[in-house]
Symmetry: C2
Subunit: 213 residues, 2 copies
DNA sequence: CAAAAAGTACACTAGCGAGTGTGCTTTTAG
DNA sequence: CTAAAAGCACACTCGCTAGTGTACTTTTTG
């Protein structure tokens, strides 16, 4: 019975360690989001991760580092998700209104739970002076979106002398307002979100669709 | 020399008490904004207010109440300021672009320091479940703005079937983006803010100015 | 002045949470 | 099998903070 099949059960020293690490970050992420930085105790994080407190400290050294690593993960995940959404939804041939609506909706509802992401981000700005980590994470998707908008402008679908500005305006009108809605009322149906996005896309197109000039 | 002028120096028992109370709330507001709820200790608040800790507790009972009262004050102040800005800047006869720009700029730069206000608000959402206090504070200015937009639409200056939506879009494009800019980079010149607002007004007018239809 | 209101100084409890030290058990690798 | 890596249980230090109790001083008022 001593066969190589055992390799499935035994992940190896390193993999096991990584597994614990990931579990700790999962727990930390959830607790930081739910409770905030100060109120989420390391003991609670350890308990939730089903790991001893000592292991937590062996892996990360201190609480601030746990936070930082968790934030990095979330940032990366969101940036990747947004990038994917841009590439997959904002495709050249597609009807513009449809594409923009699908994109906005996907970013807000799919991906992480974006509202959680926003919450996490807030903890950052909370004077915690996490260098420009969060900022960098915002920049990447913003730039990608900007490029796509520039392409749309070049293709004559949009009138956007300043694609960066257009991208910011689009985000504000759709994703920004949708997230705000999510935060305000606890119970928001997906239909409401879709409406918010659709209205935002509407206004955006009125302002930026190639027309008069 | 014992004249009634002394009344200026001696505010009376009640007024003195109110004075201390205000000083405590001032200190609390500043510290909560700077440090966050947990890190702002009651001792620090008392010290900053130049008041004994005991007095703080005599007045407010506990830390949560201090926070709540401070938040109420800030909310009221901002709501008043926004209301005043609406009434004084968004006057009927005025050129629309100019009026909207002045309004946006005033809300962002004048009034409280709005960015501080935003910071304070964040502490609220931080799971503190301050009932709908903050929400109510947001609602009042929003509704006033909505009414003014409805009036503008009636006057033929705007095409806004849904004035509430128009108001939200306006806010998102101007004030929202300006505040975001303020939070991101530590050093933002007023000129940049003005640009952000002007760009937002531009886009808004393209989307909502009475035109084609 | 006299009494009460308001405020102060300060000591004290009580609890929580970050981080450490240590010896023990389990897992994995050779 | 054996040694080392990884993890665990647990006890403990230390600092900080919310909140209280109390006796003392100042201010205000009649």
């Amino acid at each position: 019975m001593s066969r190589a099949i055992a390799a499935v059960q035994t992940p190896g020293r390193r993999r096991r360690s990584e597994g614990k690490k990931a579990a700790i970050l999962d727990a930390a992420e959830a607790l930081f989001i739910a409770e905030g930085y100060e109120r989420a105790s390391v003991d609670a994080i350890a308990a939730r991760a089903q790991v001893s407190k000592r292991t937590v400290y062996d892996h990360f050294g201190d609480k601030a580092t746990i936070f930082l690593k968790a934030l990095e993960r979330v940032n990366d995940a969101l940036a990747d998700a947004v990038q994917a959404a841009i590439e997959e939804e904002l495709t050249p041939g597609r009807d513009l209104r449809e594409a923009l609506t699908a994109f906005g909706r996907r970013v807000v509802t799919q991906t992480v739970p974006s509202s959680d992401y926003v919450t996490f981000r807030r903890l950052t700005s909370q004077h915690w002076a996490v260098p420009r980590l969060a900022e960098a994470a915002r920049d990447r998707p913003e730039r990608t979106l900007e490029e796509r908008f520039a392409a749309l402008a070049a293709g004559g679908e949009l009138t956007a002398a300043d694609p960066r500005l257009a991208a910011r305006h689009f985000t504000a009108l759709t994703i920004g307002l949708a997230l705000e809605t999510l935060e305000a009322g606890g119970d928001v149906s997906e239909a409401e979100i879709v409406t918010v996005i659709a209205d935002g896309v509407d206004a955006f197109l009125r302002a930026y669709r190639t027309g008069p000039a």
